[in-house]
């Protein structure tokens, strides 16, 4: 039976998030103090050793990323916390920031020390104005206490575009430009905000840092799946009994999440599919439910862990119907910079709509497959690359839903 394990949500509901003294009393800011007593490279080694991988979706090794920015000489470096959280169905970053904002600030300050940056930004989702208030209060308190030292943090608000969660689009947005992704390389760690080395990590990633510094990389690396250790905060939505959030070790299987913690499919209906990782996540059928919710296990079945959103669908759901909402979403959210995504997301939506409306043919399904295949390898950024996954995985696992509608 799966059990929760709270690392990033260690203080959630236990302390008053707007009282820094309670955070400190719970052991807060000890890790930052410890980190500052360490050699920077030893600190980065410790983070590397934990094998913590980014919780924003791309799963890049956190310590490794910090090392690139550490290595790059520059008069100014930046730390950016990605709190854009634009994935529908995802609210784990909000939980962390609302429940324990100081843990995020502390994680950012540790990173600042490690790479040699004295300036941080939190890029907060535009729809979270109340979270911005909390963050600003938390920053004020931390400054008043002097716990951050010379590390300064500023909150910036997004304007609601999904693509601005992509790290280089986020940088463009902070710089005041059109929120569009840049080509990588150069990676932000080398050339980021205003051309300076910049570490961008997700809220959940930063919230893990104090614990890792405190308890050591080895301790962390032993939790959950070895290749993607630690825990993951999941948010359950859809046709599931317990529509709530959980933090579980990454060795937990999808089945345990849905049937254990989630309490199974609501209303006694039969399970049909689960989509994990947000809008661009692949659809997973019953037969693959014993996959662990770790980055690599998910990749291996053509799905993603992404942000950790878990959307459960019962037998009454029509996959083409569900997918048509997703293709509409991507048509709307494509930034329009690169041709295959700009045109491809619109065509994908058109073709799915055609099939849904009973006017599609087998040729349209074949075209969707070709288009999806090309987009997933040729688009400029993760949005266009991931956008076809729901279409391709439903065509793969739930072909009948499509075929039933063909002319």
């Amino acid at each position: 039976m799966a059990e929760e394990m709270r690392i990033v949500l260690r203080n959630y509901g236990k302390i008053d998030p707007l009282n820094i003294d309670e955070y400190i009393a719970a052991g807060g800011y000890k890790a930052l103090e410890k980190a500052k007593g360490m050699n920077k490279i030893d600190l980065i080694e410790e983070v590397k050793k934990s094998n913590l991988r980014g919780r924003g979706g791309a799963g890049f090794n956190c310590g490794q990323k910090w090392f690139f920015a550490y290595q790059t000489n520059a008069d100014q470096k930046y730390v950016v916390c990605n709190a854009d959280e634009g994935e529908p169905g995802t609210y784990k970053d909000r939980l962390i920031m609302q429940g324990d904002p100081q843990s995020v600030l502390e994680g950012m300050a540790v990173c600042g020390y490690a790479i040699g940056a004295n300036k941080g930004f939190i890029y907060c989702r535009g729809e979270y104005p109340y979270v911005v208030d909390i963050l600003n209060q938390a920053i004020d308190q931390a400054k008043a206490k002097g716990v951050l030292g010379d590390f300064d943090i500023e909150v910036r608000m997004g304007a609601g575009a999904y693509v601005c969660g992509e790290e280089t689009a986020l940088i463009e947005s902070i710089e005041g430009h059109r929120g569009e992704p840049r080509f990588k390389p150069p990676f932000p760690g080398v050339e980021g905000l205003w051309g300076k080395p910049t570490i961008i990590n997700n809220v959940e990633t930063f919230a893990n840092i104090p614990v890792i510094v405190d308890k050591g990389g080895d301790w962390y690396a032993a939790i959950g799946a070895p290749s993607y250790p630690g825990t993951k905060v999941l948010t359950l939505t859809g046709d599931v009994n317990n529509k709530t959030f959980f933090e579980v070790p990454t060795s937990t299987t999808i089945r345990e999440v849905v049937y254990g913690l989630g309490g199974g499919v609501a209303g006694g209906k039969k399970f049909k599919a689960v989509q994990i990782g947000g809008t661009s996540g692949g659809f997973i059928p019953e037969s693959l439910l014993d996959t662990a919710i770790s980055f690599d296990a998910m990749s291996a079945i053509g799905a993603t862990l992404g942000s950790g959103a878990v959307f459960v669908m019962d037998e009454s759901r029509d996959m083409v119907d569900v997918v048509s909402k997703i293709t509409k979403f991507f048509e709307h959210e494509s930034c329009g910079k690169c041709a295959p995504c700009r045109e491809g997301t619109a065509r994908m939506n058109e073709l799915v709509g055609k099939i849904k409306g009973g006017k599609g043919s087998a040729a349209d399904i074949a075209l969707l497959k070709k288009l999806g295949g090309v987009m997933s390898i040729a688009c400029l950024c993760g949005l266009g690359q991931a956008a076809p996954a729901p279409v391709l995985t439903t065509i793969g696992h739930f072909a009948a839903d499509y075929e039933d509608k063909l002319v």
Binding site: G336, C338, P340, L367, L371, L380
Partner: protein, 574 residues
């Protein structure tokens, strides 16, 4: 150096090279659309994608730097399928309008569609249905044909610093629009036409007026007179299958007579005249403490720019009309009288490398002859179309003369076509006027070349005159900011709106790189060297017009016909 293998060919290339550059160096051609040799890499069209061993994703060759041991494959089935699909996607949202298109047979998208043998596009045809913008007299936009490569945006903002074009909306609603989504005429656009050269397709072009010429030629009561600008000859050959510079001037004139022009004259004549007027204006300003530095005024794109962005510096502009407009005013007065032709019957056509000239000739103040001074401006490209339509074989055509009174010119006029040429021509004359000595070496090498800003000092009998030359409006802006700040050390500044000068003008054959501009510049100086007379004040017809009609530079007649004034544009700029 970095060792890479591309399509099985091993090579080593400098660190930082892109896959595209590396492939080019070994003769492997990778298709591109948004890439431009003189612009920042954009990486947005994705047609240059290639396979890189070890990578799940395809790599855009234009932006991806090579690394040691990289193995690239540019022609695998996966690559071809991706490129074809991307082309199909772009084409499915593109008017199938090649036969009516201004860029038919000179279009990067059309070429790729041919190379990738696009036949049955599986995506349904759907265009945005946006209206064409014909609001300016010089440039039209056909936004439906735009493939969003953003090359025009960079040309307008980075090269010209005008910022008349930008992006609006997102996703498949994204589009390139003039400032605030207004019509182009309401934007700060200076009509330089550099966006036309930047555009890979037919989404921007010159407003074509060939039919007006054909109607004038068809009318037996109309006397069609033409002037040819200095920069046109070196480029017109490119339009009819000849090499740059390969069209002899007399053959060009013969071609124009074949089309039906009644009289073939030369803007070079008024270029020489400009030197006398403008040179004397400079000397007068220097002597009498007039506003300095004085700016040249022959580039109408630059005039628009000055009126839009530096209205406080209009007094610095030379009051001389451009050679085109001087010609227009004289054709219907002096020349009509000399040739015994009723000026009311003259239809004055100028052949220009420039789009902004189409606007200039329509300015309300350009009617000093008592008629509209210049009736029609055709670009080099439009004349190219006429030549092709007329089926003239320029290899077999015998040369013809230029008509009298306004057809003679010197090498000093020829070099007006290249950045620095006006300055050099002025120096050749001013030197002799001031010092009374003969200038033995007429070549002022420092004024030549395509670099954005050039400067020189000339000693005129003990007075050191400092001059500067800028081509491209972002370079002009640098000099103007100095003038505005009061820190400009110069007495005389030549500005050409277009990179490289008029040889790179917005009406020239579609110019895909600065390398082509340099080729044309070189040909300009070859032509100058070949001229017997190379100083404007030695032009016999210029001497004649002063003796018989104008009497003296800056005199009463000149003031009336050859000089003008400027007006602030009061446009909203970004």
């Amino acid at each position: 150096m970095i060792n890479v293998t591309i399509d099985g060919i091993k090579t080593s290339v400098p660190e930082g090279s892109t896959i595209l550059k590396a492939a080019e160096s070994i003769g492997v051609k990778i298709p591109t659309l948004c890439n431009h040799p003189d612009q920042a890499v954009k990486g947005n069209c994705r047609v240059c994608v290639c396979e890189v061993e070890g990578s799940r994703l395809l790599s855009a060759a234009c932006v991806m730097p090579v690394w040691e041991g990289m193995v690239v494959k540019t022609r695998t089935p996966k690559v071809v399928e991706a490129r074809k699909t991307i082309l199909e996607l772009i084409l499915s949202n593109h008017p199938q309008d090649c036969l009516n298109c201004i860029r038919n047979q000179n279009c990067e998208l059309q070429t790729l569609a041919e190379e990738y043998f696009i036949r049955d596009n599986p995506f349904s045809q759907k265009t945005r249905g946006m209206a064409k913008d014909y609001s300016t007299p010089a440039i039209f936009r056909d936004p439906d044909k735009c493939i969003l490569c953003r090359r025009c945006v960079e040309a307008c903002s980075v090269i010209q610093s005008v910022n008349a074009l930008g992006l609006d909306q997102r996703g498949h609603h994204a589009m390139v629009v003039p400032t605030m989504g207004w019509d182009l005429i309401d934007s700060p656009c200076v009509m330089c036409g550099q966006c036309i050269h930047a555009c890979p397709v037919g989404a921007i072009g010159e407003v074509e007026e060939i039919d007006k010429l054909l109607a004038a030629i068809a009318d037996p009561d109309t006397v069609v007179v033409t002037q040819i600008a200095p920069a046109v000859r070196v480029a017109i050959g490119e339009e009819v299958g000849l090499a740059t510079g390969d069209m002899p001037m007399d053959v060009f004139a013969a071609g124009l007579r074949q089309i039906g022009f009644d009289y073939v004259l030369h803007t070079n004549f008024t270029a020489d005249l400009t030197i006398l007027e403008e040179g004397n204006e400079l000397l007068k300003r220097l002597k009498e403490g007039g506003t300095l530095p004085m700016f040249t005024s022959c580039s109408p794109g630059w005039i628009n720019f000055c009126e839009t962005f530096y209205p406080d510096l209009l007094d610095n502009l030379s009051t001389c009309k451009s050679p085109q407009q001087m010609f227009g005013a004289l054709a219907k007065t002096y020349w009509a009288e000399k040739s015994n032709i009723d000026p009311a019957k003259i239809y004055s056509v100028s052949i220009m490398p420039c789009t902004a000239k189409k606007y200039e000739c329509s300015r309300p103040e350009m009617n000093d002859s008592g008629f509209r001074d210049v009736d029609l401006v055709l670009t080099t490209r439009e004349i190219g179309r006429l030549f092709r339509m007329s089926g003239i074989d320029f290899n077999k055509l015998a040369g013809s003369h230029f008509d009298s009174w306004m057809g003679a010119y010197t090498g000093a006029a020829v070099i007006f076509g290249a950045s620095g040429g006006v300055m050099e021509a002025a120096l050749r004359t001013v030197y002799e006027v001031v010092t009374g000595q003969t200038l033995e070496n007429v070549n002022f090498e420092v004024t030549r070349g395509i670099q954005g800003i050039k400067e020189a000092e000339v000693d005129l009998n003990g007075t050191v005159v400092k001059v500067a030359i800028a081509n491209g409006l972002s370079n002009a802006r640098q000099l103007m900011d100095e003038v505005r700040a009061g820190t400009s050390p110069y007495h005389f500044i030549e500005i050409m709106a277009c990179p490289g000068g008029c040889i790179g003008g917005g009406g020239q054959p579609i110019t895909k790189s600065n390398a082509k501009r340099v080729e044309r510049i070189n040909q300009i100086y070859v032509e100058d060297e070949a001229c017997e007379i190379r100083k404007s004040h030695e032009n016999p017809e210029v001497k004649a017009i002063y003796e018989e009609f104008l009497h003296e530079p800056l005199g009463h007649q000149s003031h009336h016909l050859l000089h003008t004034h400027y007006t602030a544009k009061n446009k909203k700029t970004l």
